[in-house]
Symmetry: C2
């Protein structure tokens, strides 16, 4: 049987209201009675209803982490960084998945209004554009921080990576390896990170003397099988693509599948570089050159900022942390491509 205030009151021969007030440390109850009630409650291992406590204290000791998915290595690493910080603060982390659906994300945020959590860390789904009413609304009600994927139009703190610069470098890397026909596999949706990575690619291609670089953008789908077909068509085209920049991990996996299925040799026929935090990138056939985001550090930084806002009621709205990504060279971009010229 679970221990209730009623049981404590009956056992101690007191009124329910007296026990209730004592447990809330009310001045109406004498110290002696309070001690008697608290000792007995502790003995019975009484657990207060957390929601009742929340009404009083207005803190829940919960933070919400809202992410598109956990199958992507970036998000699972970032969550580990967030958890490390939250645990040290005695907070519980509740993870919510949007599955890249705008509707789902709005419903989750709507539900987070009104006291369920103390703060929110969010990486928005591809379905969310640059602006969103519910995101703007929530920011006025509790601390909310974007990490990696943000709504441009919503004014609050954000922890990002240097997407433009690292995409520029990734493209340059392929050029330096002798690639002449490079395509960019773009993820669906209108996220700022997608746009930044695309812009970095276009700039690098333009700087290397390619005319109309925008013709080298390949728009992929949220659906893996559809992306597979789109990538297959792009790589089997008569243009003889010899370099691929994958803007997200799941597109890199589809690009590898296409090359495996149609025996397009990596790196001899096609070189591939991908934004990915896949731990086993080095075990793939061939090992994959990656642009690695500092996922764990980003999670840590976002959580640290959130607790700063919670503790000191700091205005964090203007905070903007940018952490650099790193290129990790492996076999998928090996060689100079000199034999192909």
């Amino acid at each position: 049987m679970s221990v209730t205030i009623r049981k404590i009151a009956e056992d101690l021969n007191l009124a329910v209201s007296t026990v209730s007030k004592a447990l809330r440390d009310s001045h109406e109850i004498s110290d002696e009675t309070k001690r008697r009630i608290l000792d007995y409650a502790r003995k019975l291992e009484y657990i207060p209803n957390p929601y009742a406590g929340s009404l009083k204290n207005k803190t829940t000791k919960n933070i919400a982490v809202v992410v598109p998915e956990v199958a992507d290595t970036f998000f699972s690493n970032a969550i580990n960084g967030i958890e490390l910080v939250a645990r040290a603060k005695g907070y519980h982390v509740m993870i919510y998945l949007t599955h890249e659906s705008r509707e789902r994300e709005e419903s989750i945020l709507q539900d987070l209004r009104g006291g369920r959590v103390d703060g929110v860390l969010i990486s928005v789904s591809q379905g969310v554009g640059g602006n969103s009413l519910i995101h703007s609304q929530l920011v006025t009600e509790l601390p909310l921080i974007f990490f990696d994927r943000a709504c441009d139009g919503v004014e609050t703190a954000r922890v990002l990576t240097d997407d433009f610069e690292s995409s520029y470098k990734a493209t340059q890397h392929l050029v330096s390896r002798g690639c002449r026909e490079i395509v960019f596999l773009a993820a669906a949706g209108e996220l700022s990170i997608t746009r930044q990575r695309r812009e970095g690619f276009l700039k690098a291609l333009g700087d290397s003397g390619v005319e109309k670089p925008e013709k080298h953008i390949v728009m992929c789908s949220e659906d893996d099988d559809k992306s597979f077909t789109v990538i297959k068509n792009a790589l089997m085209d008569k243009q003889a693509v010899d370099g691929v920049v994958c803007s997200v991990e799941k597109l890199a996996i589809q690009a590898y599948r296409v090359c495996q299925t149609y025996t397009l040799a990596i790196p001899d026929r096609i070189k591939i570089i991908a934004f990915s935090n896949l731990q086993i990138a080095g075990l793939l056939a061939p090992s994959m050159t990656t642009v690695v985001q500092p996922a764990f550090a980003m999670g840590e930084a976002a959580a640290t900022l959130l607790f700063k806002a919670l503790a000191k009621k700091l205005d964090i709205t203007k905070e903007r942390i940018v952490l650099p990504s790193e290129i990790c060279e492996r076999d998928s971009t090996r060689g100079t491509g000199i034999f192909r010229m």
Copy 2:
């Protein structure tokens, strides 16, 4: 400014208690007044404090999913299965990570007592043994269902795979491919699935005529780097190990790393089969033969059982669903090994 009951009362020139009762659909308030208050509350987009509502209805529309990690593909797939069912029921899924720590798991479960969620789906961490006080306690308070990893001593529903049988088959598979010195990489901890997989291995090895099969168990660590060293020592041993059964995905990754680092050719020198749901197992060098658990279906089954318990107050304690795993043959166990004899 956020809308409160007080504001609604002031605007409509009513008592706060009247508004509060109307919003809780009390019989003390006339239908006409109720309609007037509800219409106005809707117009102002009034959001009830979810915790206040919870005190009254005693339902939260939340379920908790407690898992060791999300970096393992099994868990991320199982979560997707759970979410599919929960979403259809209008429930929110809150994911909690234990990071294989008993202490952390106990703290999370303690926090889930007393009304924060309506039910719990849990895959216990390696640190939790066959029995646990807090798990037993929680089962008496709200519906709790184990999936994949269970406490043997705790009586409640569970959704499992045929760990003994599939480990037996995995071992037989290596024997049929000509392996003569097979080891089993065992995960740390005393979980039932760990034990079942080990027993299946021992039985298969015994049936194939190996004496003292228990000498072929290699105990690994929770720490990746330590496991790497343990596996290296086992594979470089003078016994000339030629077959490896990996009991969990993370050990398979370390086994691959060892073979890559010390150029032990897979499958010619060593054949590897692993319990893993890794989607890209087919893209590894070489592609990896896996025992694939029906992760998504297990998540779906566990969630379906939970909602059955919630809706009909069914006693699900005795339910035990076992879904079969499948062996997916790839290059890491290719060949007959005939040249080695």
